[in-house]
């Protein structure tokens, strides 16, 4: 079904299995989860593999419990994760808010399906807000990485573990049902990042020192002010160091198509079709959704005439594009509410209507 260990061989596999194998290669010690389509293969794969490797696996009683189990494991410095989808990720929001305030390296694989409510199991990008704006309480951010290929599912799962531990902040791999279920050839390279020393904060038992406390309760207002300033200084550093995107043909573009995740693949093809037709289109793909590449989009807004956000939802990322552009040029939406991304030809037709 999948690669046994990191190697340079290319293997044909599904996004969900690729993510699971990548987590194992990244050194994930604990998996906690509850089934939901379209990501159940991750838990299925982990159940066998983790036991085989003598690592921890728990079939949690709910996503609420699963995310709190991840928090418990992470508090000891362990690499731990859960995976889920949409309505079930909703159940994790309280714990995610706690985890940002506890400053714990939680990793969540979120494989989006249609919503709101139970919705359906078709691919969707309807949880852009859920991931980047959060449904938990208080001022916090999650680091959010958006793969567009099965290979990127692997590479960004590695990165998710690294960034989560480097910044002690919950990190989300935001995939969708299409990526989870799609098969593509992938290469499982070795986990490329250094291991992060967590000896200064991990709970190990108070041996030869006072007990350490991981807490979010800050009864005094001034303590909470100090904490939030510190937390947001960290988010600023993340923005400065970790913002990632892909851009093609933006230098001379009259119109720049902005798109993330699996949808961006058809958008990239649409951009090429536009060029063949003489429309000077550019392509811009945020890879990190938080931190969002606002600075670069703002620069590009001074060089181009229009941006179009292409999304499989009712228009969510477009808000961040508009904030980045800050009224300099118009920003339009091409969207499909739910399902597989619009075909490249359809995108081109709609671009022609908008320009």
């Amino acid at each position: 079904m999948i690669a046994e260990a990191p190697s340079s061989k290319k293997i044909l596999t599904k996004g969900n299995y690729a993510i699971a194998q990548a987590a194992i290669n990244a050194g994930c010690e604990c998996y906690f989860g509850y089934p939901i389509t379209p990501q159940s293969e991750i838990g299925e794969f982990m159940s066998g593999k983790m036991q085989e490797l003598g690592r921890a696996y728990v079939s949690a009683e709910s996503e609420l419990a699963a995310m709190n189990m991840v928090i418990g494991a992470c508090s000891t410095g362990a690499k731990a994760m859960t995976s889920s989808s949409s309505c079930a990720v909703s159940l994790m929001q309280e714990a995610l808010s706690y985890a940002t305030s506890d400053e714990l390296p939680v990793v969540l694989i979120s494989v989006m399906r249609g919503g709101p409510g139970l919705g359906n199991i078709y691919p969707s990008q309807g949880d852009y807000f859920q991931a980047t704006k959060g449904g938990g309480n208080g001022d916090y951010r999650l680091i959010v990485l958006a793969p567009s290929t099965v290979q990127e599912c692997v590479d960004l799962t590695y990165k998710a573990f690294y960034l989560a531990h480097k910044y002690k902040n919950p990190t989300v791999l935001l995939a969708d049902g299409l990526l989870g279920q799609m098969m593509e050839p992938v290469e499982f390279k070795e986990y490329p990042y250094p291991e992060i020393d967590n000896s200064s904060w991990a709970l190990t038992g108070a041996k030869g020192r006072d007990g350490r406390v991981i807490r979010s309760y800050a009864p005094l207002a001034e303590n909470q002010c100090v904490f939030l300033e510190k937390l947001f200084a960290k988010y600023k550093a993340i923005e400065e160091n970790e913002t990632e995107w892909e851009e093609i043909g933006t230098e001379d573009a009259d119109v720049i198509l902005v798109s993330f995740g699996s949808t961006s693949r058809n958008v990239k093809t649409a951009m090429k079709l536009c060029r063949e037709k003489g429309i000077k289109a550019g392509f811009f793909r945020p890879i990190t959704l938080f931190p969002f590449p606002s600075k670069r989009l703002s620069e590009l807004a001074s060089k181009t005439k229009k941006m179009i956000s292409v999304e499989v939802n009712m228009g969510q990322m477009i808000n961040d594009v508009r904030l980045a552009v800050n009224g300099k040029i118009p920003v339009e939406l091409i969207n499909k509410p739910v399902g597989a991304p619009p075909a490249p030809e359809e995108i081109v037709t709609r671009i022609e209507e908008l320009i």
Binding site: E61, I71, A73, S75, A78, G211
Partner: protein, 260 residues
């Protein structure tokens, strides 16, 4: 020559200001936990999962490594801690609302899975921290801020018998209910805490103690009147004793407890 016969347990932090109301049994329970940690030499390998309730800042009192779980999720977090680090001693300290209302699923599933952790639950028949509202353990007839004419079946249903439910879980190694209303009962409570910790040390499964406690503030009673209420009212519904003990050799007598 003098010998010291009484001292502050080493597992308690020094010079702390306790946040409990005067006369509250939480303070006695915390001290018992600290004494047991000392006597069993567990302090240096302990990881405490604190919960949300009047004992939320337990980590300010116990000098052990600690994490604070969201309301009701202590045993999910304890599961994560123990699965990641099976060599550590992992325990929770929760209110009755935390354990048996908002966290009932997490609590019973930890017991059902036989998680090798220990849990202490303080049953004061109310949500103490939020000002004494009706909770899962509020007795029939009991007046609280959200049962102004007393708990009646029509509106509120029945109270939950926690130690019995925990004992019914196959993964439970030890489940007992104790009280702190007399010196003798405080001694029994300490023995039960020790046992709940010991079964974890032996890898036998889930260890649990429900401690019947007072909330003089919300009950609007003096500490001694509050202990009378524990004896005369609470202990009638919530019978003290050991409900399950896999080390005892005999089958568990689930509904007729053997006394500690």
């Amino acid at each position: 020559m003098t010998t010291q016969v009484f001292k502050i347990p080493e597992s308690l932090r020094e010079n702390v200001k306790y946040s409990f109301c005067p006369g509250c049994d939480h303070g006695v329970a915390v001290r018992l936990v600290a004494e047991v940690l000392d006597e069993m030499e567990l302090k240096e390998k302990s990881i405490l999962v604190a919960s949300i309730g009047c004992s939320v800042t337990l980590y300010d009192f116990l000098n052990v490594d600690s994490i604070e779980a969201p309301h009701g999720r202590a045993l999910a977090e304890a599961t994560g801690v123990k699965r990641a680090r099976p060599d550590k001693f992992v325990f929770t300290y929760q209110g009755d609302g935390d354990f048996a209302s908002i966290g009932l699923a997490e609590s019973l599933h930890a017991a059902l899975r036989g998680e090798n952790v220990s849990a202490i639950c303080i049953n004061n028949t109310t949500y103490g921290m939020t000002g004494g509202q009706l909770g899962p353990t509020t007795l029939l007839g009991q007046v609280t801020t959200t049962s102004p004419t007393g708990r009646n079946l029509e509106y509120y249903g029945y109270p939950v018998k926690i130690a019995e439910h925990v004992a019914l879980c196959d993964g439970t190694a030890f489940s007992a209910r104790v009280s702190l209303d007399s010196v003798a009962n405080i001694r029994k409570a300490k023995q039960a805490i020790k046992k709940a910790f010991e079964v974890q040390r032996q890898g036998l499964g889930f260890g649990f103690v429900e401690i019947l406690s007072t909330c003089p503030t919300n009950w609007k009673m003096s500490p001694s009147k509050a202990h009378e209420r524990v004896r005369n009212e609470m202990m009638k519904t919530y019978v003290s004793g050991v409900y399950k003990d896999v080390t005892s050799g005999e089958q568990a007598h689930i509904m007729r407890p053997s006394f500690v």
